[in-house]
Symmetry: C2
Subunit: 231 residues, 2 copies
């Protein structure tokens, strides 16, 4: 009924399934991703999927790879100059966050999965090339990229999850944050003195500020490494 196969009757590929899964995830959220719905999305019966894929786990791995379709760490055409390593890395990290934020439902379901396929390899190659061109050595390139990417993914994962039951049912993010602040401030001060005192600081900064703070920390750390001549 629905389906990708109406026009151009070429047969189904595993990438078609991955794309369908990703589309479903964005359209219906985490629990919209079922084998039966993916099958319907590509115009086939649920049982047919098992010809292309061993089980749902494998389909999720394919979807995790498909998530990187069209991603590039730096804006196309921008060259990575060694004397601007800080700005380059910051741009790359911000682009990574933006890309993941554009797929929050997928991030929630696929978080932690690492199954690089054809779509993820390009961005990986590009990222490492950028770091080497910025003057990082092989070891620092591998470990530094791992650290930053893990942090950004963890950051977006928390960013993507509604902050509380309050936000779940209608409250705006701003209202939910305010509610959280009040809950903290209302805690018994003799038992939780720091939580009460820090209520404002803990709930105040928006996600952009938090991101920039963490990014600054990591870049400063990499700067120390560079000055130590270890790069």
């Amino acid at each position: 009924m629905a389906g990708r196969r109406a026009a151009g009757n070429t047969s189904l590929t595993r990438e078609d399934l991955a794309d369908a899964a990703l589309r479903l995830l964005e359209r219906e959220g985490p629990k919209g991703l079922t084998m039966r719905k993916v099958a319907a999305e590509v115009g086939v019966q649920a049982a047919s999927l098992y010809w292309h894929v061993q089980n749902k786990e494998e389909l999720l791995d394919l979807a995790a790879d498909a998530l990187w379709e069209g991603y590039s760490p730096l804006p196309p055409g921008l060259v990575a100059a060694p004397d601007e390593w800080r700005g380059c890395l910051a741009t790359a990290a911000r682009r990574l966050r933006a890309h993941l934020l554009a797929h929050t439902a997928a991030v929630r379901v696929l978080a932690g999965r690492f199954a690089p396929g054809a779509r993820a390899l390009g961005p990986l190659e590009e990222t490492f090339g950028m770091l080497r061109r910025l003057g990082f050595g092989p070891a620092e390139t591998a470990l530094g990229a791992y650290t930053v990417v893990i942090w950004v993914q963890g950051f977006v994962l928390h960013e993507a999850v509604p902050m509380s039951a309050a936000e779940e049912r209608g409250a705006t993010p701003a209202e939910a944050v305010e509610e959280a602040r009040e809950r903290l401030a209302a805690l018994p001060a003799e038992r939780y003195p720091h939580l009460v005192a820090l209520a404002g600081e803990l709930t105040g900064p928006d996600m952009d500020s938090r991101f920039e703070f963490g990014l600054g920390l990591l870049l400063d750390g990499l700067g120390v490494l560079r000055e130590a001549g270890a790069v």
Copy 2:
């Protein structure tokens, strides 16, 4: 049949359910956590759970809180001295990683959830108290803790997921890593020059080394902040 309620016939609490969910997660893995099994674990019918809890989501939030039972950022009795801020923070981060690694199944299912209840508040209070005692200001305490905790959680999430389909079916972690290295090295070098060249660096370091590298980066970043007098 099974159940916590045989001895001491006090009635069921929400915390009992959270504990049962966590136990199930560790005993049977992510897909062992079903409402029916949680019910059986506490000796009750599935439908009864909905008296205590609105739905499975809420139970997962309770479980995420229960995960912090018995956790403390510093070894009990160890005081946080300002001139050893680096060692204290490193110890705290390593303890956090160890605690999460002891609950890998839970980390996989509950990742990203932030619903602090009675069990999580204590550790949070302790953590912030430690940072303040180490001489960090309110803003740096809030933002610094957020950054480090997010990073550790993201790190463990990746650490907790089997690295590939290879590891899934019997291969030891070491074999899986070696397989990954070979796959990278076998890539077409003209298309993925950096991935091929970095194959060793990317798969070489074990998780402990990666953790210490990232931790070093963050601590160096915090050190820069301190020297800048912003603390």
